[in-house]
Point group: C2
Chain length 307, copies 2
């Protein structure tokens, strides 16, 4: 069971020769979630062989061009490939204009349905769930309505100890209960503790995506205990006045959020093109939150299964 994040694009508003605009792909057990869709996302997906055809859910944090201009190409290519599966797009209200423009001008005979799920602007909302994963949106603080996303595995079943299960031979109904953590009561009334029959379940893994946002301590409560946190770090500490003006964050501020949320690991990106040497930003973040990394296009961050 995989839980892996691929960075498709990591630039700020101006792409560079090495960084495409923002797009992330999260693979949770072969369910592929596309998060933001900057220009060139479909080319990055192809180049990285990252499950282009398997995307059924796209999450758009906000409607600045560097987070959404890749949507037209993706929708067109799905069409050209004869896609039939419904495509779900979770995006702020204003995405309606973008979708209407696309449909009117570029999709005369659409082979698949596109459903726009409008994201609430307030509070933490469950916006998607299936058997194994749930996705929440929560408000960020930017120049227009902007949402962060939290992806979290649902609790896993307990794992059977094969030898013990073979020995006690529980019935089908009992097996279901043991999976959920119940003890086994034998016909003679003997209680076999669950721990004899099972290993602890795999820990649920989680990923939170925070881009773009000013420093906002209210984010912390929405992502508390997250395993992997991406938080934008457009500016260096020296330019925190610019960060405030443009409603972005410094690397130090990103690290402060990670620390306060008790995150497992912090990824920073969306760097202003003014910085030639990103080591400064990395050092600033690591002073507060040591397990910080700078993302690069093509990087993959996998969270292993642990008990």
């Amino acid at each position: 069971v995989k839980f892996a994040l691929t960075i498709l694009g990591s630039s700020s508003a101006l792409p560079t020769s090495k960084r495409f605009p923002t797009a992330h792909l999260l693979n949770v057990n072969e369910r592929f979630f596309l998060i933001d869709c900057g220009e060139g996302t479909q080319m990055q997906l192809r180049k990285l062989r990252a499950g282009f055809g398997k995307i059924n859910h796209i999450f758009i944090s906000h409607l600045h061009g560097d987070h959404v201009f890749g949507i037209f190409g993706i929708l067109s290519s799905f069409q050209l490939l004869g896609r039939k599966n419904c495509l779900n797009i979770y995006a702020p209200e204003g995405f309606r204009n973008i979708l209407e423009f696309y449909k009117e001008n570029f999709a005369q005979d659409q082979s698949y349905e596109i459903v726009h799920h409008r994201l609430g602007e307030r509070g933490k909302n469950l916006i998607f769930e299936d058997k194994i994963v749930e996705v929440y949106s929560f408000p960020l603080k930017h120049r227009q309505t902007t949402l962060g996303f939290l992806f979290r595995e649902k609790p896993h079943d307990f794992n059977f100890r094969k030898e013990a299960m073979a020995y006690y031979k529980p019935g089908i109904e009992q097996i279901k209960e043991i999976k959920q953590g119940a003890d086994l009561v034998l016909a003679d009334g003997t209680v076999i503790p669950n721990a004899v029959l099972t290993l602890p379940p795999w820990k649920t893994r989680s990923y939170a995506f925070c881009s773009d946002t000013a420093y906002d301590p209210r984010i912390v409560k929405h992502i508390s205990g997250v395993d992997l946190l991406y938080h934008e770090a457009t500016f260096s500490v020296a330019d925190e006045n610019l960060a405030a003006q443009t409603m972005h964050s410094s690397s130090r501020q990103a690290a402060q959020i990670a620390k306060n949320a008790g995150a497992g690991k912090l990824l920073i990106g969306h760097f202003s093109s003014r910085y030639r040497d990103l080591q400064v930003l990395l050092n600033e973040a690591r002073e507060i939150f040591p397990d910080t990394e700078i993302v690069e296009d093509g990087n993959v961050y996998e969270i292993p299964k642990t008990r």
Copy 2:
């Protein structure tokens, strides 16, 4: 004086891991003309260090997504870079919708003017000229209004033979006339033939861009004698029925146009993603027009100065 074409993107509608959607950049003596603007054009311009900031004229052949989805990112990046120069976009009438959508949703405070020059659908039209170059549009044959473009240097002045000019010392007015090919008449009535004073002017160079189009012999007259011709070759000869259905060309048909136009060199691209081995398409074209090449993203084709 340079005349060089850079291929920014060469895929057909579906980009591949190695080919971005259509975009070409023509540099005529440091005037940069962008021709079509598929998704990722701005990233290719940066990666290839190809004069991103110097583009003042963009030519859009038609409004299929793979030829125009890069326009949003380019317009936004110009804005972010504080562009002041007017940007001229030569495109079919329908481009109005695209520009309006962009302005309404992504350009609240536009720092530079964008002028949309609407392209006529009929005949060959001079759509741009300055001191050194002229650009014509002409109709192609596709599923929607589609224009080809011809870029041609204006006639160059005669080049002075320095020694002869130093010897005869013509006046300022005489110099102007000699540049245009006139003989020099000395005070005593002696006629010094222009050939004594000058070398022949550099030949005018030209580039024609034909994408996307069904095979259409009417194109030939518009590009007669062109030095460098790009003509789409979406299909192999074996799939000419598909070419006809989708209003594209086979490589053989592209070569036939090049041959009949007396082109100097043919570039083919826009290959359907169904072909793994493009050598077949190249061979088919070379049977009819030997000086054919397959374009690759990043390739540069320079036409040297000759007399």
